[in-house]
Symmetry: C2
């Protein structure tokens, strides 16, 4: 079974928040093809923007062109909302409405870093445990008192929603999702292929 992964891009997205998970799911496919040649690819990875312009200028000026617009995006099993400068994304009513609509049919909506603010604005984290970049924990608590904000976990997987700590923690969360959906062996082999020190669960963020 192949799960579709859709990674949001936007102007001022944090490069590694988006590219880390993209790398993880892509490498998981390559490792799977090598180690399980008869199996379907575990993931089909897309990127998407919410407007008509598919080019996103990430932080630092890296220009990434999304494969899809929100309107043309096929149903996604896994949605990744990266962080960065998320102000415009937090008030993007088309995106917030889409996230609310999609929640029932999506296996997990995963936010990296300040992407948690987008999920919180969509009302999806009320009463839920969540984390974000260490610099923004207090702000998340203040703005969304109904979210149980946790400081320390590298990531939190609440089943239908998941959140990670800052920037590079998105790699750990994505590896965890590979383990959850395609098995611990593939996740371990993916981390090894990326030469990335990783153990699933329980790891604290080093800040």
């Amino acid at each position: 079974m192949t799960r579709s992964v859709a990674i949001l891009l936007f102007d001022e997205v944090e490069v590694l928040d988006a590219c880390g998970p993209f790398e993880v799911f892509s490498v998981a496919n390559r490792v799977s093809r090598r180690d399980r040649p008869a199996a379907d690819d575990p993931f089909q990875v897309s990127t998407f923007v919410t407007g008509e312009r598919r080019e996103a200028v990430a932080r630092g000026g890296l220009v990434i062109t999304a494969s899809h617009t929100l309107d043309g995006l096929p149903a996604a099993d896994i949605v990744v909302i990266p962080g960065g400068v998320t102000g415009a994304v937090e008030t993007d009513l088309a995106l917030l409405g889409w996230l609310r609509e999609r929640r029932a049919d999506t296996e997990v909506i995963a936010a990296v870093c300040t992407g948690a603010f987008v999920l919180a604005e969509a009302g999806l984290l009320a009463g839920r445990a969540a984390t974000t970049h260490w610099e923004d924990l207090a702000d998340l608590r203040r703005r969304f008192p109904d979210v149980e904000v946790q400081d320390g976990p590298r990531y939190l997987d609440g089943g239908d929603f998941a959140t990670s700590a800052g920037v590079s923690a998105g790699i750990d969360l994505a590896l965890h999702l590979v383990a959850r959906f395609a098995g611990a062996d593939l996740a371990t082999a993916t981390a090894r292929q990326m030469d990335y020190p990783w153990t699933d669960g329980g790891r604290q963020s080093p800040h």
Copy 2:
């Protein structure tokens, strides 16, 4: 003093090999602006391709548009050669010639992962210690017997040339270059901003 960083992009570049160092140098600038507002940005980060088409389709299909072509690239103090599927890059005579010409005026040419094969093809690693992705160490040894290939170090900095282990090790090498050129404090603060567990030097790759 601002140092210019030029990161090569090409079709089938490994996403994290290029985007990891891009993130590190960009975040170092942001952290520097926050902590040392009177100082110049330590880095000016560009991406470049060797042909006329500035769009590179990275592994997994991510489309990244370079800011420069090789012809239009200003002099670079730091050059980063990522890995990926490097066959076409290893036989790109314009690039190999440019690397040989630039070596005298560049502070460091840094290869991530299989980017080491490009430096080796340019004849730049003869008699030098180097490393690469664990999967490719034997091939690097076999093809370039005059390179002293090392298995284990997360990265090796030989002064004018540096190499790293696989994929995510490019983040560690870039953080080391931030320490080398802009100080250990800024490198540590950059790693912390990226929520990335990092200590300079001596760390082994986990494969």
